[in-house]
């Protein structure tokens, strides 16, 4: 196990190093720089001014040299300042991370809690009215564009009924209920979109498991249908689902751009988008690397979960 963890740690470091170079390079290769954006909103800016600002922001040196300088600073613990917000990168990142985690964590939790029973129910009674209903809901959830759903929810709950705020985040020191009022609509949007795919994964995995010999054996031994499905079946059906959930674990930390934009929710998705478009190298790089690191961690946790769900799987072993 220790060797496995060490190896995975090493692999992750290599992936992060490569990713840092690729991300930096891709942002740097995008046409235009922050000074061009300033020029487009200020016709008075002189050529000399533009040249001076390019030098000041270090945009006049080759890309690889800029990357190398950033890497040396980062390794010494200095992640630099956000060019867009004029603050240390971590000071900008952490509030957005907290907001994303709050929103996406709620949505992720709700989607899992609703999708697993729905998928299991559908698989337990294939081709029944329940199955067809679950499938209908799942496909609807997968098909509805999140921006449209978000706008419809705002129109209904905020404009027509006036029950919930149309966007934003709760003020300082707000009560739990006040926080909840702001999070409800964006969380419902994300939950509906996620439930569809999760329930489909659970259903198909469950159907596969329910055809296995050990399920037949359990039935022969006289186990109740409920016990077979929820105890014997679900645990084994969760293995492929865990892979999907692990991949989505990174999503918790990288935000949901469309939903965050519509609801003016200051999360990671919007922050990453703004930093990439605004050529804020330091912020974009750290945010994207963080999301990469969390995705790698999610996959590691998934591997560990496999062994927990199925004792036949040996983590780091030659055989499974």
């Amino acid at each position: 196990m220790t060797r496995f963890l060490l190896m995975r740690g090493l692999q992750s470091l290599v992936v992060l190093a490569v990713m840092s170079f690729v991300i930096y390079g891709l942002i740097g290769l995008m046409p235009g720089d922050p000074i061009d954006l300033m020029i487009s909103s200020d016709p008075k800016m002189t050529a000399a001014d533009a040249a001076r600002l390019r030098t000041l922001y270090g945009l006049d040196i080759p890309l690889y040299e800029r990357y190398w300088n950033w890497l040396l600073s980062a390794l010494s613990g200095d992640l630099g300042y956000s060019r867009l917000f004029g603050q240390p990168v971590l000071d900008v990142l952490f509030p957005a991370l907290r907001n994303s985690l709050m929103l996406l964590g709620t949505a992720f939790f709700m989607a899992v809690v609703i999708a697993i029973p729905l998928g299991t129910l559908a698989a337990a009674k294939p081709r029944s009215a329940t199955d067809y209903s679950v499938n209908l809901l799942a496909f609807a959830g997968i098909s509805i564009p999140s921006f449209w759903l978000a706008l419809m929810l705002i129109m209904f709950f905020s404009v027509t009924l006036g029950w919930l705020p149309a966007g934003g985040i709760a003020p300082d020191g707000s009560s739990f209920l006040e926080n909840l009022r702001f999070i409800v609509l964006p969380a419902i949007t994300l939950t509906i979109v996620s439930i569809g795919s999760y329930s489909r994964y659970v259903r198909s995995s469950m159907l596969e498991v329910l055809r296995q010999d050990y399920i037949r054996t359990a039935k022969a031994k006289g186990a109740s249908g409920r016990r077979i499905v929820w105890l014997h079946g679900l645990r084994n059906a969760m293995i492929p689902v865990v892979t999907i959930l692990a991949l989505d674990f990174g999503f918790l930390f990288s935000g949901a751009l469309v939903t965050e934009t519509i609801y003016s929710w200051p999360g990671m998705g919007k922050l990453i988008f703004d930093s990439v478009m605004g050529n804020d190298f330091n912020l974009a790089l750290v945010a994207l690397l963080f999301a990469t690191a969390v995705t790698l961690l999610g996959n590691l946790l998934a591997d560990l979960c496999y062994a927990w769900l199925d004792p036949r799987i040996v983590v780091g072993g030659d055989e499974t």
């Binding site: 061009d36 008075k44 001014d49 917000f85 709050m102 679900l234 609801y263």
Partner: protein
Amino acid sequence: MKLITVFPLLLAAVLTLSACSDGGSTPTADKTPASEAPKTLTIGLAQYPSTMHPNIETMVAKSYVRGFLARSMTYFDADWNLVCGLCVQLPTLENGLAVLEETPDGKQGVAVTYTLPEGVTWGDGTPLTTADVAFAWEVGSDTKTGSNNLEMYTRGYQLDVVDARTFTLHINKLTFDYNHLGDLYPLPKHLEAEIFAEDSYEYRHRTNYNANTTEPGLWWGPYLIADTQQGTSVTLKKNPHWYGKAPYFDQVVIRAIQNTSAMEANLRSGTIDMIAGELGIHLDQALAFQKRHGDEYNIIYKSGLHYEHIDLNMENPILQDKRVRKALMHSIDRQLISDLLFQGRQPVAHGSVNPLDTIYSDNITKYEHDTAKAIAFFEAAGWTEMKEGIRYNAAGDALRLEIMSTAGDKTREKVEQVLQSQLKVVGVDLRIRNEAPRVFFGQTTRERKFSAMAMFAWISAPENVPRSTLHSSEIPMPENNYAGQNYSTINIPELDAAIEALEHELDTSKRLPIWERIQQIYSDEVPVMPLYFRANSYVMPKWLKGLRPTGHLDQSSNHAEYWHREEAGTQG
């Protein structure tokens, strides 16, 4: 069963995070009727201001918020007059506050004296003095701080503090706008001097304007920053030390809502009271909104100095012929575009100068839509043969041009389609190729990679000298690292000379003929195809009074203390 125990733990973690979160500063966005919260005004803005430093980086959202918090030494008001923002009298040669002088290197210069209003203090009660102005000048002059408008600091080669309220700025170049200090905002020396002294290069990062934006001593306008929620909102409260007219609203909340459909929904739900015209919803969206809910809101369309036009690449062999450029102008029906797409809210532009500007001249060539004239010009230029609806010249070249603009801008995309169909009538094959704004502005226009036409807009101040866009020294080239904004490569010696003469002519009556000549050259030579002056759409509650859209770079928030609530039939 173990799996089931994980979920409550997860839920608990999420809810704890939610409950412990300090949230942010956005106000409670209840659908509370505005009448129950008369002292708060919530404004929707499509962008969040990044750095709050008044003298570093230019950005429309920041200028808007800054209007509530501070005023520059001088600015243009809603009537397009230059007025004092932080001086008691606008210095002029006539009133003796500006005096001609010789610079140390023997050139003609001018000394301009400004006096700060009595009783002006920072938001923490510290008197705002000329020491703060001198400090701002010192910070701005240091190239390491990244201040905008370095030219202003270069031109003003010396700043003399006369007393606590009076200072004299010595300028090494005599231009007609010698008394305009629109980009100079005093900085609180008592809060910022130490940070600047430590490391001027790091100043832009460590300044209190970024690290401690709610510090009251940073601002001296009618409002102070009470709270910020990064990327989402800025909450302003009344400045108890503001020396001017007391503002009506106790609190102003500016909420950044990037998605314009969501902005509209926020307005309808009462989450915001109004949409700022400076950076809000597009005109077509506002027109549609007016049809549905126009009777419930006060919607103002303010046309101004957003000049939408098409830069022509004069290096293109087809466009080098002036007759072709004139033919193109006669081919397009701009009035129809304005009427059809904008319900006439965006007036047709006949040049880069808006008729609202005092320097506008009507004595210029105007190109009405006339296909017969267009065809005559094309034929005179040798584009005589028509094959399958496209015009060809004797060499067999097709009259094929490409227009580029910013992808995703629905209005521009519609205009391009109309232009395409109008030009097709006269045998011009117009191809549309749009790019992401970042690519379009960052590379295509800057490096002149558009083969024929580039459609975009400029915004400027009243009587803005068009040096950066029309003077030949501003043509972007590899030699100058593509600096300059003369993307059409306009190189007309008479125009260069007129621009230079204009800058140095102090007498308004003598400047007007020069302005007229510049406008005439612009319309005769057609290096650029003027389209229309864009209109900003202000969507406001009917009870909001006193807000005057400006139509130029100095925004309506510069008069925020005059905004107030006034129900129908009451006096406010």
